[in-house]
Amino acid sequence: MTMDFQYTILIPILLFFSFVYNILWGRTRSPKIAGLISTTTILIAAVLSYYTAYQYFFNVGLVNGSYEKIIAFKMVWLHFSDTLVVDMGILLDPISIMMLVVVTTISSMVHIYSFGYMHGDDGFARFYAFLSLFSFSMLGLVVSSNIFQMYIFWELVGVSSFLLIGYYYQKPSAVAAAKKAFIVTRFADLGFLVGILLISYVTGSLDFAVLTDPNGPVMLQGASLGFMGLSVMTWALILIFIGGAGKSAMFPFHIWLPDAMEGPTPVSALIHAATMVVAGVYLVARLFPLFHIAAPNAQYVVLAVGGFTSLFAAVIAITQIDIKRVLAFSTLSQLGYMMAALGASGYGAEEGIGYTASMWHLFTHAMFKALLFLGAGSIIHAVHSNNMTDMGGLRKYMPITHITFLIGTLAIAGIPPFAGFFSKDEILVALHQSSHFWYWVEVITAGLTAFYMFRLYFNVFWGENRHYHHKPHESSLSMTFPLMFLAFMAIVSGGFFMFDFGAFISSNLVPYDIHIHWDIAGLSIFVALIGISLAAMLYLKPSGISTKMATALGPVYKATYNKFYFDEIYLFVTHKIIFNLIARPSAWFDRHVVDGFMNMLAWITNFVSGSIKGLQSGQLQHYAMSFVSGAVALALFFLYFMTR
């Protein structure tokens, strides 16, 4: 049964209009109107997305045992050549629909939340305009039918992220963070772009329908051509993965994400936790058949980078004291999980459990991480500080925030029956099937996750009661409602879909049943509980143990606290090497050597003319002398040389 999905074009377009309205006229109108317009459009988009999901999964449903890829809309945007065409299209398949739901849901919650959080801010309209722009770009990204369309929206989410991180543009640190985020991701995007170029060169197509057809000719193209021992397709996919790694802040592009917390907290929740940062994961998932079939080496890179990042970020998260940074590093860690799951996945229904798990984790993570960030926002709003050293005992003042935050923490720690447990379990299953080394890495990471999250939780809500400037109070309904909604989602999105998620999303679109592997799950619960109890021991009641441990570990602690000095390394490379060793010399070279050469030509001309100018002295006698001597010489010449 076919269905007309053309209305889906409205989902992004509405948001685009909201953006245009707010950016052009929002400043001069009442801020309330701007907020209402944005919120209304995103809510409409959310409703449309749910409707689409319902239609797609239940009305259209399975055709010959698998889900169809539906092109709901397609328009030629640009012809590069006869075969290389950039379309603007809407591709509906299980993962894009899931992303539609995730993005519109989280975005709606953030829109509502921001009514309270951003209340009274100067740039209220601007904020909502940028939120609309972001939602538009993100939705455009997830429904892309063409890799180039994806690249286009990829850049647009990058710029919305830039604008929102730099929202407090008068704060130099925010500006610096925005610039850093944009430039780092742009550098990674160069990899994406070159990857696209390679793919276009090898396959002659940019269309996902062609590129991801597992039986298509693309899977064999580019396999023969080699460069440094890897096939061209492998290189292309590694480059594309670099783009994804940049956006998902995988190691070594992770440095921008913690700094990005300079943006308003709702933005961190929306962009830097739930949606934009998973774009990299989504990209790999989108091209999954290509990764798995045409370039297994590239897929292994995905696994390794994802696995390493998850552990690396978890270690750093332990020592951070800024609550948003802790959450940022935990985001990194969880994104690493998703990447690793994709890297470990096989192709097919059962073998592709990693794929399903990754998407599932993406889904649940979006819910509980948005919840955690919004909760953190609520706390910051109340306490006016980001540092957990300024907090403690908040459970008494902010009951709703406390409960919802606890739910989120349990979810991320992987305690059943909360969402994170189920998706993380499937990821561990997938890793167990594929690589024991990375399996153990992720198990350890799970323990660390539980530890640092509960360290955060205990420090903020328990521990000793700090002295506050004014008594913290619970936030308004516009802020607590999204918290409660997301807490509800964080509970049900795992268990509720328990035996159903595989029925919706699988690597080859064929639904299958998934079930809990209690052997693996048991271990992960055990590790998580160890982490929690350790955290409780150290931080539930104020005790000096943690500081003692920190001093005992000394340099290790310091290195971890300073994020292993990656920022410094990057700073060194950009400022010392690129600025001072390339840019400054080339500017100098241009002014002095190239331009100097031109000036030298001018100088020579000037000099020569100055010298011969002496001949035109204006002195009659000089002229006369030249004239006579010339005449004499000519006479001599004609008389004595010409005649003989």
């Binding site: 006579v628 004499v632 001599l636």
Partner: protein, 200 residues
């Protein structure tokens, strides 16, 4: 006899020509020039061109030389020696002049002049007057008229030039850049000191 007279005249011409161009006293140079001009008229006499010789004496030796002496008196300090000619300039000029003279003389000596041998014409002032105003063959009325117009023009010009009032004598105006708008130093390479020394 005539031969020796010629040699004497030639010697006078050459010696005083040389002195004219080398003397550092300007009035003396003018007088030496006068001698040269007179000696030249002597040569004309010897060639039997009496009218021409007379003209030479009156116009040249009488008119022009006096004019020059006058202008010398008007413009120069008489008891002041002119500055020494710089050696390079003298050498260069001398060399060129010498080379030119040598070349010319060599050519003259080598060339075989052939007179046409026809009977000589001795012009009397009367014949000259006729030829001057004749417009037929051997008539010179056209150059004569042209010369008269030229003389008139020269006369008028000389009067006008000499009558023009002195333009700048006050100090705040420069001699060079009167036509330029403001920043005189932008357009001239002269320093203030140079201009001042010129004005002195």
């Amino acid at each position: 006899m005539e031969q020796y007279v010629f040699y004497i005249l030639a010697a006078i011409i050459l010696v005083f020509s040389f002195l004219t161009v080398t003397s550092r006293m300007i009035l003396r140079a003018a007088v030496y020039l006068l001698f040269v001009l007179i000696a030249t008229s002597g040569i004309y006499f010897m060639l039997n061109y009496n009218f021409l010789a007379a003209v030479q004496l009156t116009v040249y030796a009488g008119g022009i030389a006096v004019l020059i002496v006058f202008s010398v008196l008007l413009t120069s300090q008489l008891n002041e020696k002119m500055e020494q000619v710089s050696l390079t300039k003298a050498l260069a000029g001398g060399l060129i002049a010498f080379a030119g003279a040598l070349l010319t003389i060599l050519t003259i000596v080598q060339y075989n002049f052939r007179p046409n041998g026809l009977p000589e014409l001795e012009p009397s002032p009367r014949e000259i007057g006729h030829a001057m105003l004749n417009y037929g063959d051997n008539g010179y009325v056209l150059p004569f008229e042209v010369i008269s117009v030229l003389l008139l023009a020269a006369m008028v010009g000389a009067i006008i030039i000499a009558k023009r009032p002195a333009k700048l004598l006050n100090e705040d105006r420069t001699i060079i850049d009167t036509s330029y708008p403001s920043d005189k130093n932008a357009y001239t390479s002269r320093t203030k000191a140079e201009i001042d020394s010129l004005l002195k």
